[in-house]
């Protein structure tokens, strides 16, 4: 009984108390309408897009200003990474060519008739860990589409997805050539990936239930093809620049050009 009191006295001290990334912003820039689009008829439930009458959205993402200096990556935490890459390494937030900004995820955010159905691809999207970097750095896939995660490095990686809506996962890949597959059950833009072994490694995936997305490539160019006629909200996302949206209306077989401009910050 008193031992309890004693213990209580000793332990009273211990036991008794026991998106926005800025920049970018949202801009609503109505697309200049050179010609009145034919008003699309409402799609019947479960309809597939009539690709023969579909239109396209093409465009370019531009970086306004001088790209900020990239951060130096010290890979000396893992001798294998040092061996696998050549020369000094830096982050690659701003890959700019001819004023065009790469690695911007562009997608149809709104306006798509929900009655359309799109087959889920069985071909997996792929992400590889090579040279202690993720390849690709930004990409998109469909809800339910398999994502094949591969480790091409002769060192250990863990791939750790940190979604807000989907299920978080953290998978270890200790052996070179290992592959694992994962699927996402819900739309989410963007899901960050990181490697907790190599703190500099990160990637982003946009998960959508339709096929209208693209990642700007070299020169900042992108294309969203085979869109049914209609008015859409198009969003562009960049890991440092944030998001921008524009509205665009396309008619049957029409191609509209869009330009997104991110300011160098």
């Amino acid at each position: 009984m008193h031992a309890r009191k004693l213990l209580a006295l000793v332990s009273v001290v211990m036991l008794g108390i026991a998106g926005a990334c800025g920049g970018g912003g949202t801009t609503e820039t109505p697309s200049p309408e050179s010609a009145a689009p034919s008003s699309p008829a409402a799609a019947p439930e479960g309809a597939k897009v009539d690709e023969s009458n579909a239109g396209n959205v093409t465009g370019k993402v531009v970086l306004d200003g001088t790209p900020p200096k990239e951060d130096v990556i010290k890979m000396n935490a893992d001798p294998v990474c040092m061996r696998e890459v050549k020369g000094p390494q830096t982050t690659e937030y701003y890959i700019v060519d001819d004023g065009g900004l790469a690695n911007v995820f562009v997608y149809v955010k709104g306006g798509l008739d929900t009655k359309y159905v799109f087959e889920t691809p069985t071909e997996p999207a792929k992400i590889d860990q090579k040279g202690c970097r993720y390849h690709p750095h930004v990409f998109g896939l469909r809800v339910g589409q398999p994502l094949e995660i591969m480790n091409s490095d002769p060192t250990l990686h863990n791939i750790h997805a940190v979604p807000k809506v989907n299920q978080e996962f953290n998978t270890g890949q200790p052996i070179q050539g290992m592959k694992t597959t994962h699927t996402f059950s819900t739309e989410e833009v963007m899901v960050p990936f990181k490697c907790d072994v190599h703190g500099w490694m990160n990637a982003y995936v946009g998960v959508l239930n339709h096929p209208y997305f693209a990642v700007s490539g070299k020169g900042g160019k992108f294309e969203l093809n085979k869109l049914p006629a209609g008015t859409y909200t198009i969003e562009a996302w960049h890991e440092k620049g944030g998001t921008q949206t524009q509205s665009v209306t396309i008619g049957a077989k029409e191609t509209k050009d869009l330009a997104f401009t991110f300011k160098a910050s």
Partner: protein, 338 residues
């Protein structure tokens, strides 16, 4: 004597473990090993050293040290159980064993569930409790404690546990410090460490002009630092005013003042260096040492009272227990057996 030395070893190992845990959080390596209790499928002790790279070095290193401390704690609890005559000390050994097992399980859960803040904070809080337990065991198995910090058969100096102000002050200091560490752990595991980016002001003002949960946690930790500093300084003044002839109180009191100064400096540097790994980890470790120091002081101040409670527990009549008259080892001799 060897038991005491072993207890000190366990306490030192636990401090090392806290440093390793601090490094895991400071480097963001908490999930560098995704599985538990295995490490990338390997049995913990067979994981190749060559694969301990990047964040794995910190996370797996933390697990190895934790396992070692766990085994040392088992040995300590067994040693106490078989050799220690004081029942309450034996129970401390068992409590330490339970704490270290629970701590290991919390560590596993926090990995498997992707570092949920409440579990991570509980893991950090229990780490400090376990450290305090090991320090307590090391203290109460020491010669000084057994001899009541006096070689004289007759003690003429006033008993510090009779100094009510000091008795209350030391408990309040240790308790407040533990709370402060819990707030710090909450700040650390919710990513609120730089919610207020400047120091000593908050957004250029004495009080933050705007509030979020992260800013509130950060600001409470700053206020807590001031409260702890005031309490430690008050203890220092009281000890020097009334008990400056008791080295067993003077030494930890001076050390506590120095540690508080170092800790506040490290806290400021943590903000100003934007959580530099070394500084951030040193802040965690210094907090643990400061807590242990304050606890040690508290226990020494309450030495006689603890004896009285223990005497009751061992079946001795309160009136028959007069350690000062009976000599320094009276309590051990007069025990009534297990």
């Amino acid at each position: 004597m060897w038991l005491h030395r072993f207890a000190r070893l366990v306490a030192a190992g636990t401090l090392l473990l806290i440093v390793a845990g601090g490094l895991v959080t400071s480097t963001g390596s908490g999930l560098a090993v995704p599985d538990w209790p295995t490490s990338y499928g390997y049995f913990m002790f067979s994981f190749p050293l060559s694969k301990m790279v990047g964040g794995i070095y910190y996370e797996h290193g933390h697990r190895l040290i934790a396992s070692t401390v766990g085994m040392l704690t088992i040995a300590l609890a067994a040693w106490l159980w078989w050799q220690e005559r004081r029942r309450w000390v034996r129970r401390l050994g068992v409590l330490a064993l339970v704490a270290v097992v629970l701590q290991g399980v919390l560590g596993g859960i926090t990995v498997l569930y992707f570092l949920p803040a409440p579990i991570s904070v509980a893991h950090a809080g229990l780490a400090q409790m376990f450290f305090c337990l090991t320090v307590t065991i090391a203290l109460v198995t020491s010669d000084g404690w057994r001899r009541r910090y006096s070689c004289a058969a007759t003690e003429t100096r006033p008993d510090p546990s009779g100094d009510r102000w000091l008795a209350r002050l030391t408990i309040a200091t240790s308790a407040t410090l533990y709370l402060q560490i819990l707030v710090g752990a909450t700040m650390r595991h919710t990513g609120a460490g730089l919610a207020i980016p400047d120091f000593p002001l908050s957004f250029g003002a004495l009080v933050p002009p705007r509030w979020t949960m992260a800013i509130a946690i950060n600001f409470i930790h700053r206020i807590g630092a001031v409260v702890v500093a005031v309490l430690v300084c008050s203890t220092f003044i009281r000890v020097f005013a009334r008990h400056k002839d008791r080295l067993e109180l003077v030494k930890p009191t001076v050390l506590a003042v120095l540690l508080v100064a170092a800790q506040i400096t490290l806290g400021a540097m943590t903000v100003l260096t934007k959580k530099a790994v070394e500084v951030n980890t040193a802040h965690v470790a210094t907090g643990a040492v400061l807590l242990a120091t304050c606890l040690l002081l508290t226990l020494r101040v309450h030495r006689t009272r603890l004896d009285e409670v223990a005497a009751h527990d061992q079946g001795l009549e309160p009136s028959s227990f007069t350690p000062a008259a009976a000599g320094p080892l009276a309590f051990d001799v007069r025990r009534s057996g297990r």
